[in-house]
Symmetry: C2
Subunit: 254 residues, 2 copies
DNA sequence: GCGTGCGTTCCGCTGTGCGAGACGATGACG
DNA sequence: CGTCATCGTCTCGCACAGCGGAACGCACGC
């Protein structure tokens, strides 16, 4: 029963004002009388709201969602750093956390001149083809990358990297630089610079980025600001970057 | 069963990292084996996450919460206006919507020099003793005010208005000015200026405010900025303020 | 060792959840 | 207008899903 209810909740889509009972039944496969009954209970609790024939997700879910520690703690600590980065660059700022083989956007500060970026606060994107995701893969536990490779790499644009060897090599380079870039791998016209944010455990627990038009974003110009903000946020979270392997010939950053 | 699950979800509190099964049982009254079973199902779905003996709300609820039309549509439209107001005043900015006899905070941009304000994004406060709530009562359907009066007015600070007649008179004044103020009615040391935000239907669908220390906030200085932002947001939402009653002797604002 | 509290599992039983079908309302179309 | 399709709402027999007291092993403090 609980699964059925959540299946119904999962049938609501971004950007929709309202959905009818019939449409929810079609999407979820829950029979109409059952869906009708469950929606009635969900409505009692505030998880859905009803307007005539239309249902929409209810405010109670927003309230619950704001209690989620994984986003709340991060968002509270990160807010000033993100605001600073937004003000310094005037480009769209993102903050995301890893979840399975994807990233979940915890915060998005959209720039007014921003391109149509397929990200959304509370939304998900595959990790392997986003700057944020690659930063998280490069500095996360190896099992995270393995899960991504096991799940398979799917081409989303002509520039998506779908060869496991190429991705691994890119992640190694990201580890050397401490920065990830994205050039139209997840969406045409979009570029991004992302840096990992470290928690007390030593792995990247989040990543933050600047996103803009690929033919306009000066990645070299914004990269130091992104990394600065990420390092500052890492410190505020009680984390710090891992030690560089001694044999690395990476450039000195002292 | 669904009610039980939601009761368990409702037992999580703001600011907690994790809660044990035993504590959830104590708070919710759901017997331990039942709670254990339900939490297991909630975990499968991502609504809760587990770490040893600790449970916490899961990312899936954050994702769902970000789909809620009532906050999403408002937040997307309001974000630039709120950011402008924050930058212009450098004080804490709030945006809230009405729900029953309370306001729910949709967005909060905290100022670094802000007092300890008992508000929280996704949190609730009574309407009758908050600037935001009073703005919503003054410009909302009369049934909303009636529900508040029926529920009763409870003193929270020495300055809380608990006489229905005084509250109604204050709301009439707010309707004349188009602005609400709060002086330590919800929390000691806190002052606030709030303005209603109108939707296409003519009633206030939200309110926005500036909040600060009561002995430091120049309400007269920030009030025009608050009202400007609220009127701009109203226009962006396809709404506008109601006509002034012809018999009113309020000051002309042409 | 003992006591307390924890999370996990079991299993008989019952009442809750289920949904095909029926029904009235609505809207589009000829 | 009549017909058809789709909508949301309700019914009710029944079976099985949900329930939770009790038991158990583990951890911790005295």
């Amino acid at each position: 029963m609980l699964g059925r209810a959540f299946t119904l909740l999962g049938a609501f889509r971004p950007g929709e004002a309202e959905v009818t009972l019939a449409e929810l039944t079609r999407r979820s496969g829950v029979p109409k009388p059952t869906a009708h009954r469950l929606l009635g209970e969900l409505e009692e609790w505030g998880a859905v709201e009803r307007n005539g024939r239309g249902y929409r997700l209810g405010l109670r879910l927003f309230e619950l969602g704001q209690l989620v520690p994984r986003q709340r703690e991060l968002q509270e600590t990160a807010a000033p750093f993100l605001a600073d980065l937004f003000e310094a660059t005037r480009e769209t700022v993102h903050l995301a956390v890893p979840d399975g083989v994807e990233v979940v956007y915890v915060q998005k500060l959209p720039a007014s001149s921003a391109p149509e970026i397929p990200s959304r606060q509370g939304g998900r994107m595959p990790a392997y083809c986003t700057g944020l995701g690659k930063a998280l893969l490069a500095f996360g536990p190896p099992a995270r990358l393995q899960a991504v490779l096991d799940a398979g790499l799917v081409r989303r644009t002509p520039r998506t990297v779908v060869a496991p060897g190429l991705l691994s090599a890119e992640l190694a380079e990201i580890r050397r630089r401490g920065l990830a870039e994205e050039h139209e791998e997840s969406a045409v016209g979009i570029a991004c610079v992302a840096a990992p944010v470290f928690g007390p455990g030593g792995d990247a627990v989040a990543a933050l980025s600047i996103t803009g038009w690929s033919n306009r974003l000066h990645t070299a110009r914004v990269a130091p600001a992104v990394q600065t903000a990420a390092l500052a946020l890492s410190r505020a979270l009680g984390g710090r970057p891992p030690r560089r392997a001694p044999g690395n010939s990476g450039r000195t950053r002292s």
